[in-house]
Symmetry: C2
Subunit: 341 residues, 2 copies
């Protein structure tokens, strides 16, 4: 059995979305034991009238909620009764295998750092969302978490962890690892990317060189390495451009009744495009480099996205991804991360 704790607090549609997502996952996956963490009364209310296998669903009463507006590390230290602190506590003590949340990114990251701790040899755990590509297979962007100011060593570790994750989790044999940069040539970039390029080139990964932001969705790379500032800009610019284009499409396609009629008949095709661009459909983002399985979903996740995130956590645990990533970090040797970071 895989034991997953689902945070029922913090997201835009809590506790309904996590509760409904949990019930869907429970029904689909018989080898799953779930714990819903959050205020017991609210969770019970969301569960009322629903049919589920009560033997595989527990409630962990966590009366305190951490919001996006709190200082993450302070909130983790003070709010011991929150779902993040309590849920990660179960993972830490071995009573659960994974923790998934749609709550505050900062609090999830801080909680994982403070409560689970970093893997041996990892300076900075990283959050890696998956983006859809034109080719089909999603690409992971690492880091899109808290590491906004990075040294080369951090990007080297991101490259190694992203690559090892895809090998373990998705069975990609030689993940193509690229460096997010502003030009194709090795000498292009800012101080950080110029310094890290030759280092990535010497690592035990399949490094394919620089990738420009216009090619993120092209499917040319499996892992794109970046500091979290540029990663966040790239991810949100992508999201924003797709949204703006869909909005313009809607404006132009309803500019007259005839167009509206044609557009209505094309709706299934348009919906397919929207679904393909929808990050939620791809799933939550794993936090990699901590001692345990943690997935973070978008704050606006609906039940379906939570269900997919639970599925990902199950697979992560079954494939023992934490150990395999730790092994990759370990076997890369200490030479490239000794005394730095």
């Amino acid at each position: 059995m895989v034991r997953v704790v689902v945070d029922a607090t913090g997201g835009d549609f809590c506790p309904q979305a996590p509760v409904e997502g949990a019930l869907k996952a429970l029904e689909a996956e018989q080898g799953l034991l779930l714990t819903l963490a959050g205020p017991e009364g609210e969770i019970k209310q969301a569960l009322a009238g629903k049919a589920y296998d009560a033997g595989r669903l527990a409630i962990l009463d966590c009366p305190e909620t951490i919001t996006n507006h709190e200082h993450p590390a302070t909130a983790i230290r003070r709010k011991r009764g929150s779902a993040i602190v309590q849920g990660m506590g179960l993972v830490k003590s071995g009573q659960a295998d994974a923790f998934v949340s749609t709550g505050s990114t900062g609090a999830v990251l801080s909680g994982a750092m403070l409560l689970l701790g970093r893997m041996e040899g990892v300076s900075r755990p990283a959050l890696m969302p998956m983006l859809p590509t034109v080719g089909g297979r999603p690409v992971i962007l690492i880091d899109c978490g808290a590491n906004v100011d990075c040294k080369p060593i951090h990007l080297q570790q991101f490259a190694l962890m992203g690559s090892a994750y895809l090998q373990a989790m998705e069975g990609v044999e030689q993940p193509r690892v690229a460096l997010l940069n502003i030009g194709a040539e090795a000498e292009k970039g800012n101080e950080l990317t110029k310094a890290v390029y030759p280092l990535l080139d010497q690592m035990p990964i399949h490094f394919t060189g620089n990738i420009e932001a216009r090619d993120i969705l092209s499917g040319q790379a499996d892992v794109i390495v970046t500091d979290a500032f540029a990663g966040n800009i790239a991810m949100k610019a992508t999201e924003g451009a797709a949204g703006a284009l869909m909005q313009m499409l809607k404006q132009e396609m309803t500019a007259n009744p005839w167009y509206s009629l044609l557009a209505a008949m094309l709706k299934p095709a348009l919906r397919r495009v929207k679904n393909r661009m929808d990050y939620e459909k791809v799933g939550g983002a794993p936090l990699i480099g901590v001692k345990g399985c943690v997935f973070k979903g978008h704050g606006s996740s609906h039940a379906g996205a939570v269900e997919r995130m639970i599925d990902q956590a199950v697979r992560y645990v079954q494939r023992d991804v934490t150990s395999r990533v730790a092994g990759a970090i370990d076997s890369a040797g200490v030479a490239w991360h000794r005394g730095e970071g």
Copy 2:
């Protein structure tokens, strides 16, 4: 008369696109004197058989071409016979008012720095492309040029220059200036954005706070301030996402003959969306902070884009944008840029 030098070298469709763009601009604008700079034989060949007012079109024979693969500053120093060096020389000596190019960005930037020089009080001239927005009025993103590693003082200058440019060039009274960042709150960001936020807040501009990359195309800001690394990532991610989405639309809308038929009838609406997202339609990017008028167009610019860039240069000269931006820098006082940068 406004005297504009058009670089007929370096772009993807040279010399045809610049030559044809120049002829279109010449026909539309009677107060224009044009000089086409490039290999004389090639330009004459591109002009052959075309009707134009020969009294307002000169050819400046520049046999050398600078490519994207050369080190920009070195190329500028060595290739004295190139269109960039010769054309900017005319601007420097007062024999021309403006220089427009679709050639190597690095060479145009280096050439302007070395040949025209920086405005008094400006540490780093900046390139500011205009992006289309959902609302209609384009937004400028400054810097998307060479300033990949910036100090706060540089971003302060970008803010002032971008704001003064829009006031002078487009008559926007109080341009809304925002800082590209990874969160809305003042304390969010990397070292650079956290340091510059309070400084921007005290400047004689209409600073509206942070803007996230997902809102770039929303029309919430008129000027978005950033270092050129993040600016480049944001711009190209936007371009890439729009391209990927159009590609997915095409795939889904031609998935069967019925959809193809509907899509064909919707073609004018789809083309309008494509046009609205097309940066070329918005025009070239001005290089601001140098002593002279320089516009840089996309390497893949066609004749129409070159024509629009020439129009922009004419307006820039007529409205005396260089002096007005220099005045804004000057009147902001020396207190905030003394001894730095």
